[in-house]
């Protein structure tokens, strides 16, 4: 449906790299497995050496010697700076407002950044049962900045989610602020073709295209009439060093950078 988004970087590499560029040194980041983990480790190698990585499983300040396959991987634990209980993760860190950046993905997302990871179809009689919230609802509630990483697809970028697991900027017409949600809500949706930000009403707006991608390519993967910014940025390619780090050091077996 789209032209190849880049001759050197794969879609996954570009998403990980683009997410990494959002992270600032000393940020306290709630890290998920897969692309968020790669993005965080890439950022810490490139421009954020003092990034504070926290895993839902209770690991603080991890320095894994192998690519973790689960958020509870023992490689995350050995050599970390601290282990805390899950009660502390959800209460002291998330509810306490200590998390600067969270990451989420999902099976469905709508224009307000609401995310579904629970069911496709009716909740009581689902067509497809998905894993559910895990920590996603509380990450969406409390992270000061939320970064969403999802590949474009009309079945994923939908007019209306079948179920809202994690709230975005506006639910049934009520804004995040009116709902009383403490965190900042979704800041960006990083896709495989470009990046969306959110306008003052909380609606997603395409603001950035990857090289060689057109607005129509993006719209082909979005199930609502996507707003497009007046001026679209075109991101540079990931640096050679970023690609080398991802391919040779962070995920040499291509577990997540397929």
């Amino acid at each position: 449906m789209a032209t190849d988004p880049g001759v050197t970087a794969s879609a996954a590499e570009r998403m990980a790299w683009r997410a990494a560029s959002e992270l600032r040194d000393h940020d306290v980041v709630f890290v998920g497995i897969g692309l968020p983990n790669l993005a965080c480790n890439l950022a810490s190698r490139l421009h954020a050496p003092s990034l504070n990585m926290i895993y839902e499983s209770g690991v603080v300040g991890s320095r894994p010697e192998r690519l973790p396959v689960s958020i509870g991987d023992p490689a995350l634990v050995a050599g970390s700076l601290g282990i805390v209980s899950q009660a502390d993760i959800f209460q002291c860190f998330l509810q306490g407002g200590r998390i600067a950046v969270g990451f989420l993905g999902g099976a469905q997302i709508d224009r307000w950044g609401n995310i579904n990871t629970t069911v496709i179809g009716d909740y009581e009689r689902p067509k497809v049962r998905l894993p559910g919230s895990g920590g996603a609802c509380e990450i969406a509630t409390h992270a000061r900045r939320l970064l969403i990483i999802m590949r474009l697809n009309r079945r994923a970028f939908v007019e209306r989610c079948d179920y809202i697991t994690s709230p975005g900027h506006r639910v049934n017409g009520v804004s995040r602020r009116e709902l009383g949600l403490p965190g900042g809500g979704p800041e960006k949706i990083i896709t495989d073709h470009g990046v969306m930000t959110f306008d003052e009403t909380g609606e997603a707006v395409l603001t950035e295209l990857y090289p060689g991608v057109s607005v129509d390519d993006v719209r082909a993967g979005v199930g609502w009439h996507l707003r497009v910014a007046d001026e679209l940025k075109t991101e540079a390619e990931p640096s050679a060093e970023a690609l080398r780090l991802m391919r040779e050091e962070l995920d040499p077996q291509r577990l997540f950078l397929k």
């Binding site: 209770g58 689960s70 023992p74 282990i83 009660a87 629970t118 009689r125 049962r129 609802c137 509380e138």
Partner: protein
């Protein structure tokens, strides 16, 4: 007073049909050996509680032990779906197959255990605003803060009948020490009416007393202690064995069909008498491949 029992006797004495059960552990310290023994003893109508049902509950669901699931994330971590579970939940499930799902977010379900462990009838959390989770679960309610007037979510205390917690080492009275991820082990143990501690190693109380800060579950809340080395395979125990990731990947195939699950249960659960035969079946080579090199913590002094 020693509470040592073998797994068979501990399960027989403490896990009853109709019980609300937790096999604890968050990726780390998931006691598969206990789940398999429950399957062998044909327990029925269990309400099974876990943040992450994981493979162990998928296996127990397939074996017919579980009629209700209380959870917050039901997947095969790092791999994909738990298909035995999905077959019991999705629209195409036959009526007799359907199970009841009592669903929260991680924080929501953990809060139910926090309330119970801490002796309150409910727990307060700032969560669920704008989410459909609360719309589909009458247990999620609210209170008004008496100081700020803000509305906050609540969940009711959940007191399991029995909890099974796995640790690196315990003494015969059940003083259990853990390092690496601790998850919600303490909360689960204090929330529950009966507690089975399963340990990789049974040690003299004097060893426990050398480093009391490592004790996560005190023996006074423990009913039975089981010595079951490798009891968490394919999950892991920090310092003892690595996660057997190949098993998680293979389960993705096994769990897709009822027949293949049944064949798996016949071989690995019904076909063995307990964990030592399971390990023989797994083979020394596979077991050895999961053994770690030591990464020692160093010592501290408690002198005064």
């Amino acid at each position: 007073m020693s509470k040592l029992q073998n797994m068979r006797d501990a399960i027989a004495a403490n896990v009853m049909d109709g019980d609300t059960l937790v096999i604890d552990g968050f990726t780390h310290l998931i006691c598969f050996a206990a789940g398999h023994e429950i399957i062998r003893q044909k327990r029925r109508d269990l309400t099974a509680v876990r943040l992450t049902p994981d493979l162990v509950y998928d296996q127990m669901l397939a074996a017919g032990c579980i009629s209700k699931l209380v959870c917050s994330w039901s997947g095969n971590p790092g791999v994909g779906s738990l298909h035995a579970l999905r077959r019991r939940v999705e629209a195409k499930a036959e009526e007799g197959d359907r199970i009841v799902l009592d669903e929260y977010s991680h924080f929501g379900l953990l809060s139910r255990l926090l309330a119970a462990a801490n002796g309150l009838p409910f727990w307060t959390l700032d969560n669920f605003r704008g989410s459909d989770i609360g719309r589909h679960n009458d247990n999620i309610r609210s209170v008004i803060c008496p100081y700020t007037g803000r509305e906050l979510a609540t969940v009711p205390a959940l007191h399991p009948d029995v909890a099974i917690v796995h640790c690196q080492r315990a003494d015969s009275e059940g003083n259990a020490q853990v390092w690496g991820l601790v998850g919600s082990m303490k909360e689960v143990a204090f929330a529950s009416r009966r507690v089975i501690v399963v340990a990789e190693e049974i040690v003299d109380s004097e060893l426990i007393r050398r480093d009391p800060n490592r004790t996560v579950v005190p023996g006074m809340v423990v009913n039975a202690v089981v010595h079951e080395p490798w009891g968490c395979h394919p999950s892991f125990v920090q310092g003892c064995y690595d996660r057997d990731n190949r098993f998680y990947v293979e389960w993705d195939e096994v769990c897709r069909e009822r027949a293949s699950v049944q064949a798996w249960l016949d071989k690995w659960v019904y076909g063995v008498s307990g964990r030592s035969e399971y390990l023989e079946l797994l083979g020394a080579e596979r077991v050895d491949s999961l053994r770690p090199e030591a990464r020692l913590s160093g010592e501290v002094s408690y002198g005064y």
